[in-house]
């Protein structure tokens, strides 16, 4: 093959590769803005009641792939607070449309001072949701507080908000968390 033809083909291949490679560059697209706690040690208050206390505990700390041992984040058990705190609750919040919600109550620049997760028992306790579903929601709300956005591209992460059957972070979440903190 003549060199001139080869170069033309290489230029075309290079251009095509750049176009096709764009999705690989967006792997971090599941980060929620620039939100993050000051560092990887976060005061954790589990204000859950009944089995929701267990669910929060499992998702945050005790499951093998819970956020705290699975990623670099260390959740320091604490009383409720508003400084460098992640607080978790459940309640009968009524017909709100949401099963769970994460709220950044206090921020400074990109730094989260006080985050709050809520699980809505009005829906979750109506008989339509399994314990796995509830764990998925709890896992996702905690993940939001740490700075992760929804991820509908994977069925293995609790950050997927279009499914309720993956009650754990996946390796992508772990890598992203560890790159943030």
């Amino acid at each position: 093959m003549k060199l001139r033809h080869a170069i033309l083909i290489w230029v075309a291949v290079f251009g095509t590769a750049i176009f096709l490679g764009q999705p690989f560059g967006t792997w971090a697209a599941h980060r929620w803005g620039c939100w993050k706690y000051a560092d990887a040690t976060i005061n954790w208050y589990n204000g859950g009641t009944g089995d929701y206390f267990n669910i929060y505990n499992e998702e945050a700390k005790t499951d093998s792939n819970a956020w705290s041992p699975y990623t670099d984040i260390f959740l320091q058990p604490s009383s409720s607070g508003s400084t460098d705190h992640a607080n978790a609750y459940n309640g009968f919040y009524g017909s709100t449309g949401w099963l769970g919600i994460a709220e950044l109550r206090s921020v400074s620049g990109c730094t989260v001072r006080n985050g709050r997760a809520r699980l809505n028992q009005s829906y979750l306790d109506n008989g339509s949701y399994t314990r796995t579903n509830k764990k998925h929601v709890a896992c996702q709300e905690i993940g939001h507080l740490f700075g992760l956005e929804h991820n509908r591209g994977s069925s293995t992460t609790c950050m997927n908000d279009s499914i309720l059957t993956a009650p754990q972070p996946n390796t992508h979440d772990r890598d992203l968390i560890n790159s943030i903190y």
Binding site: M1, K2, L3, A6, W10, V13, F14, T16, A17, I18, F19, L20, G21, Q22, P23, F24, G25, T26, W27, A28, A29, R31, W32, G33, C34, W35, G47, T49, S80, N87, Y89, N90, G91, Y93, G94, S95, T96, G97, W98, L99, G100, I101, A102, E103, L104, V107, G109, C110, R118, S122, Y123, H136, V137, Q140, E141, E149, H150, D161, S162, L164
Partner: protein
Amino acid sequence: MKRKNFLVLTILVALCGLSVSAMLGLKQHHDEKAQQPSRTRSAAVWKEVYKNPDEMVKSVDTIVLAQAIDRQPGRIAYSPNGEDVLPFEVVSFRVVDNIKGKKGDGIIYVERAGGVDPEGKSVYLDADGGDFEVGNSYLLFLKHQEDGPYYYQVNDQGRYQVEGGRLKGVNKDDEVSVTFQDRPVEEGLRMVKEIKDKAGKN
């Protein structure tokens, strides 16, 4: 040039292209993220997440183009241990165009979480698009509360503010919201009506 050499070099060129592309994308993403906090400060797992507009139009109880005319503090919800306090507000809308479901006097009431709690602390939940602005118009996809007298916005796919005569969704990247995003209001309403009529025939 020998065929084997050509193929090896072509693969190397392709790998270089992929690497450059991925690095550029990642850098751009990190730059964007590092510059500014997210617009939103809350994120939700919605009960309903629709894959397309047809699903949403069929699922909701009411679809209206309506103007927000008033916001009033509503109920307060507490966690079982009393430690979490969640205030609500009720937003009144004057219906401009009733596309599905709403009947009555032309005023519709939508409850949403947010407001000021009894201790005077502000609770700002914007996963649904945030506070409604009195005077502004919205295309709303609503459901009636199972346990209350009001409507609620079905999720973040269910709100489009009218800005400059065009529809602006909450999450511009969402597969449903992108259908209506930036469309002129009349065109968006026509699309919704067509979807509703099509669903009615099936």
